[in-house]
């Protein structure tokens, strides 16, 4: 062992000398590909989302429009307005004439689509192993109750002059809330927070951090 230690020391030295050549990992903000350059949008009209089964206790469509209004207003130089429509049926989404008529020749883009919101209360028995003793400390409930929320939306951008769709994409997010007092309104807000990141990335090509390696040698 003593004989080889000198050699080992030399090898270690060599490694130390050459360690400055190791690749450098960096996190780089890389843009996505923009579906629509945001500078080209003069007017964005939020027409609402068609729902096959609207929720009884909460207006999902109004919440989505309100959320998207707050999101797009600071991000687009043009104007952003709510422009609710009366849906004749789900087929209206693909009906060019329907949108041309509502658009009335304006140089604008409709943001619309379909939405489906689900909320459920789910219960499960916790496998806690040894039972907790009753004592002066706060007792734990063996049952766990969660509120489950799911939001699925199809976002479609339609040129108001031609009625043609220029962007279409589906998004879905779910949320399991430990807090059973979580309301539908707040859950939609949380779910839209996640959907918004992906929507804006695919719509405007917003940057996101990705890892890359830079070589030194």
């Amino acid at each position: 062992m003593r004989r080889n230690s000198a050699l080992l020391a030399v090898i270690a030295l060599g490694l130390a000398f050459c360690s400055g050549r190791a690749p450098v990992k960096v996190s780089v903000e890389i843009p996505g590909s923009a579906a629509i350059p945001r500078d080209t949008i003069q007017t964005l009209l939020l027409a609402g989302f068609y729902q096959e089964k609207p929720a009884q206790d909460f207006d999902v469509d109004a919440a989505l429009v309100r959320y998207l209004l707050d999101e797009f207003k600071p991000k687009i130089k043009g104007t952003v307005e709510a422009a609710p429509v009366s849906w004749p049926g789900p087929q209206a989404l693909s009906d060019k004439e329907f949108w041309k008529k509502i658009g009335a020749g304006r140089k604008a883009t409709f943001l619309t689509g379909k939405a489906e919101f689900v909320q459920e209360t789910r219960k499960a028995l916790l496998d806690s192993g040894a039972r907790d003793f009753d004592g002066p400390f706060k007792p734990r409930d063996p049952w766990t109750v969660r509120k489950f929320f799911s939001l699925q939306i199809e976002v479609v951008l339609i040129d108001a002059r031609t009625g043609e769709p220029v962007f279409r994409r589906n998004f879905q997010e779910t949320l399991n809330a430990e807090n059973i007092k979580q309301t539908a309104e707040f859950a939609v807000f949380d779910l839209m927070g996640r959907i918004k990141i992906k929507l804006l990335r695919s719509l405007f090509g917003s940057e996101r951090p990705l890892d890359r390696y830079l070589l030194i040698k």
Binding site: S27, P74, K138, E178, N179, K181, F186, G193, K196, P209
Partner: protein, 987 residues
Amino acid sequence: MRRPRHGLPFFILLAALAGFAVGQMSYYPYYGKNKINYERFPWKTYATDHFTVYFYAEDTRLLQYVVDTAESAYKSVSTELKHQLTEPVPLIFYTTFTDFEQSNIFPVSEGVLGVSEPILFRIGIHGDMPINEFQDTMTHELAHIFQFDLLWGSQGGALTAVSQPPGWTFEGLSEYATGRWSSWSTLILRDTVLNDRIPEFDESGDLVTRYPLPRDPAYDFGHAIYEFIVDRYGPNAIRDFWQILKSSGSFLARRDPLIRAFHQTPREFGQEFKKYLRARFKDFFARENPEDYSVPLGPEFPINPYYFAFSQALSPSGEMVATITYNALDNEMNVVLLSSKDGRILKTITKRYTSDYEYIKYEIDPSLGPSLAWSPDGDRIAFFARDGRRHSLFIVSPLTGETMKKIALALDQPTGLCFLPDGRTLLFTAFEKGIHDIFALDLETGAARNLTNDEAFEKAPAISPDGKILVYSVRAGQDDKLVLSPLTDLKTRTVLSTGPGSAVCPSFSRDGRTLFYAGDARGTYNIYSLSLETGEVRRHTDVRTGNFFPTALPGGPNDILFSSFNKGSFQLFKGQAAGAVETTIAIPAGERDKPLEKFKPALTFELHKDKIEERKGLGKLYVTARPPVDAIISTDGSIYGGSAIGFSDVLANHQFSVLAYQVREFRSYGFTYANLSGRLQYAINAFQYAIYYYPDLYYYEPSLWSRATYNDAMAVRKITGVTLALFYPLDRYMRLEGGLGFYSYEEDFNDPYSMSSLGYQGGYGFINGTMLMASLSLTGETTRFKPYGPATGSTFRLSVSQSLPVAQNFLSNTTLEADARKYFYLGSDFLFALRFQGALCAGRDKLLSYYGGNNQVRSAYFYSIVATEYWFADAEFRFPLIGLAQTLIGTIGPIRGVVFFDITRSKYGDFPARFYRYDPALSTADSTVYVSGDAFGSFGAGFEMFLFGLPLHFEWVKRLEWTSIAKPFSFSRIGSYGLKFWIGFDF
């Protein structure tokens, strides 16, 4: 916290109650001052949808206020943050501020309106404030609870938090959640922006400022930052930002939250924020600076060391002004006299570092009226100061500074002083059981009479020169309105200010025909005057920030003395401001019981009195603190490490702690239960301690000296026992402590085999046995501390312990102990420190004491002096060397120098009271020579520096010896100076 502290810090009694739990003390080895629980509150609870309210007030109207404001706050914060809390929030309501100070949960000092804590999500709040401010405080604190929940997920989650976002993220959001800007916050913000002193972001995203600010920028600038975020990025951006803060809390977080949320570095974000603020206040840039028409008087930090002028009182001649100011050199508030002619500070009339009172009361909010008054005869200046549970009125002589009179008050938060023209009565405002009224204090009898006795919030009374008319402000909705009443009938009111905004700080001209006041109709507080004869309203200034407390000066009709908020502080100014007529009003006739607008919370609930429950017993227990970890190194190189964990009930009246620490291989454990609910407090402690020390071998076997090593000579004392400790605070500074304890002692050498192999035959006199002991002690501490340690005052502890002769085999002894220290502050952080400490143990089974090393007797090894009777005395001259220094290893400091002297004498059992020292110079191979003497000590010098919060000492020590203590000036210097290093706080 709602507002930052501006009182003196104080130490939590629990530190002393936990006995050996040294990790809890801010400075060791001090005894701490007392937090007195003057009364035991009969707690009740009331459950609402989102709160469990703990209260004790009999008047259910107060509970109604609390419930309405709490649920209104919950609705607004929940809607703003789109979040629901899982569990009801424990909301603990104290009727008055002085009751709030008795809380065992929160460290409360003057100026604190409410507190929230992240472990159990408790909110503490008191009722000594107007109802709209109470609503804002409730919203502010509740917003913190939502922040804790968003960040750490649940009650107790903060215990395992690795890091915490910058303060502005918390305080700013809480201020933003109120939806309002107080006039004080607006003042700070506007002044800072217009004087180009906006705080900046450092690399870590924290707000830093190069200039003094009256309070932490986290509050007001944090508030503005959130408004900027909403303005720039939309209302959803706040929630998105907090999601990112939550995921940034671990070491694995890759990027700064500002970059992740807004794609800007802190620097870029800060620059955009500055532009936003300048644009927001651009209309004010063209307005006046008070120096455009007046000259500053008195406090002008850093030109002189006085910072802030909290209200003023003019002498009858008009040439002198008294003001309350902060002396930055002494770190103390004083009343000073200054010249109104040239602004020179003439003298300080209050005593420095007095223990006559704890601190002078002053108000940041000018609308509450002046904090001091000068009597019409010119011979008395009155102010309030904290004196025990509440405040007392102090009347001092401006001529001599002597306290002429002290009148204790049974009222809370007194302020707004005003002498009546006869000088025998003083008007002021205060809270009585949660209601704020105007009182008249008879200075002869000390009796206080409530003049208004209504639910309105009256402030700042001002009396006309003829003593017939009183003008004051009354809170109406969100504003303050000026009201005039005859002094003899305060139910009849004439509302003088009917326009928009507030009118505060009224004062009369010398002829009584004109009323001066400060009004914010133009968005800032300017000086106005109202002619009581013609109704003409004149605006005298158009200032950028805010002018207050206008006082007419003798001389021209436009000569005024006033206070202005300028460059981060209130300053006094004197000037001429003719102004221009704004309008003319018709002063209406007085109306009896004229109603004024009342603030109403957004939600109101019906109170179900049958749901009020008495609180009994402990309730559930909770872990309440993350265990601290402490480390100390002694002069013999031993390392102490330890930790503790605590539990308590929701009100923290019953506290449990478990302590464990280790020195070398010796472990100690302790369990404590403390009951802090009343004035008499007690603690039960069960423990096992193992302590090591080095017996002085001269006392039993000098021949072993040359053969035993340092480790051989180590002895260990193990004590197992149970104690009951009682604490009764006599006042803030002194307390009685009593105890009854059962102890089992085991003592021996750490390695008895090693000692016997060296030829030791035994008989050293270790204590082994059982003892039942009663003790009584008197402890007092008036010492005031600065960041580096004690600065002024005194500390003492006298105790007597008697072991009870329960059985023959129980240990029997009596111990007397004394510890006395005195500090003479010389100014500018120079001071003399003296200490005397001694103990005497008599009886059949004398207990050993061990001391030496560190700053006790520096020329002795750590804990190497063992005695049954001893005393030692230290004298140190401490002085500053370097404030703070930037070095390669970071910022160190302060660095302080010390010149020291100490002396000790001790006695072991029946042996003579002498020490023995092996003298190598006199010894030979055949004979070992020992030198003996009555006493020995040390002399030398060194320095102390702080690194990572630990005080490190480097000292050069020379040993001194006295052959006879009867000749104190005849001593020998032994050997050369030796370098010693130790870590620990100064005595």
